[in-house]
Symmetry: C2
């Protein structure tokens, strides 16, 4: 079948707050091929992503993404890889945003292909089984340590055996404050639960500042210390990995291609590699990193803070890897992301989740329910309308 259309939709909450919560808007991509429809979300500033779709060509290495996608054959997984490679080849210089936009479109291609063939994406990737993963509740730190503790208590009551706190005030005030948050989190969830701490890149490239938190992280028996640095600061990860006390490092959500994720493993010596299929170029790239991580004895974890469709697409890449058995589970998404899908990936009686055993990504977009979030975008160049929001 041939890709007949790709439609991009900017969805957003009525009010977007200036906080570290990526669930406040979405760039939703719809791919249609021979009557089959697939959906995917790009982790991408929506208007900038739309511009990457239709921006006029600058030269042979700076084509709009549309040039490499529309009209292409889509019959099996190798076509998706081929189309992704075309985008990289045709848009690699001067159009960095294309890496994020294609992530959403690539996912939609997998969803479309899986639905047309009536198999889950993880089966198309070659996995025999969708292995259960322990979902961890991913939440923001409270403004105070007391608030953080309350949140931890709530999550424990909700049944979570693993919880990650991140962003908020961490790293922005004093070492003492950070330590108080870490210990409050541990106190709130109890000694047996898994606790992870996400520094949200706050220390940029200061190994000294990041290392000061290691004793408290160790004392609180934290499973991993996530993104102390800028996602590109790979050598700083490598340096911190040699510090004592030893705390496992995690990172990778900022990787917008597989090279960066592999470098974070090889040179940054992370113990957990966290990949967002909506950022790294799609499910194919995420799968490539998952396989590479396995070959290096690094645990693969999805990065997902938003919707259930984003969760499913990020689960596909490592669905069959039994050893990589932890999954980030978005706990506080805004209503937009709650309304985005008809169904959810439910936590089973054993407290585990799985990539769905249904065609494509296995969750249904709630088209009627999200119309109220749709934002019109119009881009005109030289008097010609290159993009106008299509009908949802």
């Amino acid at each position: 079948m041939k890709i007949d259309s790709v439609d991009l939709f900017y969805l957003r909450m009525p009010v977007v707050e200036d906080i570290g919560d990526g669930s406040q808007d979405s760039l939703l991509c719809r791919v249609t091929a021979n009557g089959h429809v697939g959906w995917g979300e790009a982790v991408c500033s929506p208007t900038a992503g739309i511009a990457a779709w239709i921006t006029p060509m600058s030269h042979s290495g700076c084509h709009p993404v549309i040039d490499s996608v529309l009209g292409q054959e889509l019959n099996d997984p190798s076509d998706i890889k081929r189309i992704y490679n075309l985008v990289r080849k045709n848009s690699f210089y001067g159009l960095l945003q294309s890496d994020l936009l294609i992530s959403g479109i690539e996912i939609a291609m997998w969803d479309c292909l899986g639905r047309s063939l009536e198999v889950p994406i993880w089966q198309l990737l070659g996995y025999k089984k969708s292995e259960p993963k322990l979902p961890y509740a991913s939440v923001l730190f409270g403004d105070t340590a007391a608030e953080t503790k309350n949140k931890a208590v709530e999550m424990k009551k909700a049944g979570f055996r693993a919880i990650k706190f991140g962003w908020g005030p961490f790293g922005t005030t004093t070492l003492g404050d950070d330590e108080a948050h870490i210990f409050a989190a541990r106190e709130g969830i109890g000694q047996d639960a898994m606790l992870m701490i996400d520094a949200g890149t706050v220390f940029k490239d200061s190994v000294t500042d990041a290392a000061k938190r290691l004793p408290a992280l160790k004392a609180a028996n934290v499973l991993w210390y996530e993104e102390p640095f800028d996602g590109y600061a790979i050598s700083n990860y490598g340096e911190l990995s040699t510090h004592k006390p030893k705390v496992s490092l995690a990172g990778g959500e900022g990787a917008h291609n597989p090279y960066q994720a592999k470098q974070l493993i090889d040179y940054g010596h992370v113990d957990f590699i966290q990949i967002d299929a909506g950022y790294i170029g799609g499910i194919g790239n995420a799968y490539e990193v998952a396989q590479y991580a396995r070959s290096k004895n690094v645990k693969y974890v999805n990065h997902t803070f938003t919707s259930q469709s984003a969760l499913s697409s990020s689960l596909q890449a490592y669905a069959g890897l039994a050893d990589s058995n932890i999954s980030e589970y978005p706990m506080e998404p805004k209503m937009l992301c709650q309304d985005l899908t008809v169904d959810r990936i439910e936590v089973d009686k054993d407290g585990m989740i799985c990539a769905p055993d249904k065609p494509g990504m296995g969750v249904e977009i709630n088209v009627a329910g999200i119309k109220k979030y749709l934002v019109d975008v119009e881009i005109k160049v030289a008097g010609k309308t290159l993009f106008a929001t299509p009908t949802l």
Copy 2:
């Protein structure tokens, strides 16, 4: 003084060809502060860059670039660094295009500051002298080896003692064809001139394919072998650097932040690091890489394929480094780039060029001459016009 306005202009040739020639359009940035005006060019898909300027906020890590620039104080070089850091902090997740857009704006801030203080940018960076550089003519391979040879002969006649061929058919047909091009280039310019070969990322991440060209490159006494791989494929550079025969490697034009350039030095073991100030985040970042390269005994070279203003802005970062004495000199820019400035950086009687000893970037934008290239861009979101092309 305070940044009163930032204006973005999309300039382009009447016809944009699907070839590896980045001089066919430009995203020109104008910064105005207290009556002083500075200009800079971003190596950036113009419409996508404009979108990065005004795209509505998605969350605290995904602000439009305008939020971090407009109204900021601009009194000395530390302000430029501060503003750049603000952009990174506020736009780092989901808005990759911001790295390229801020490059042009950052250059314009330096130009504006230099003009207001009546000193060249290289002096603001702390250099005492603008050292002479040997300009190399940077041209595309011919379609055939005979054409490549003719081009080389012409460049030699024009007085160039160094020449680089790149892109075109290199790497796209056979090893024999590539060897023919390499030897034709050497024959055309004679035995004494410097010859460089730019593979234009054509081998992606295949060390085997890239290595097959090493014997011919060695036999033709090539000074460097540039960008055999995708700019992100750092470990592949590292692997190729160990192959025999030893040919010096060059790369870095794809670095959109200093981390990547440093990794190409540390892990990729390049011998020449090539930085475009209009890509890496501006002159401040380029300077940081130049200093790092010096500390690692790596030669710093500008990457410039377009205008004389781009050349000047890329020269500033290493103007005072006497050891890094080679400069890429655009030889075949389209008329847009020729018309972009009133003056040029002339090759002196010794065949050398210097960063100008004049305020700011030291070349003047030809405002009247480029109006004919201006392309209107309009971006509307939710019915509100967020961007309309300003008056040039």
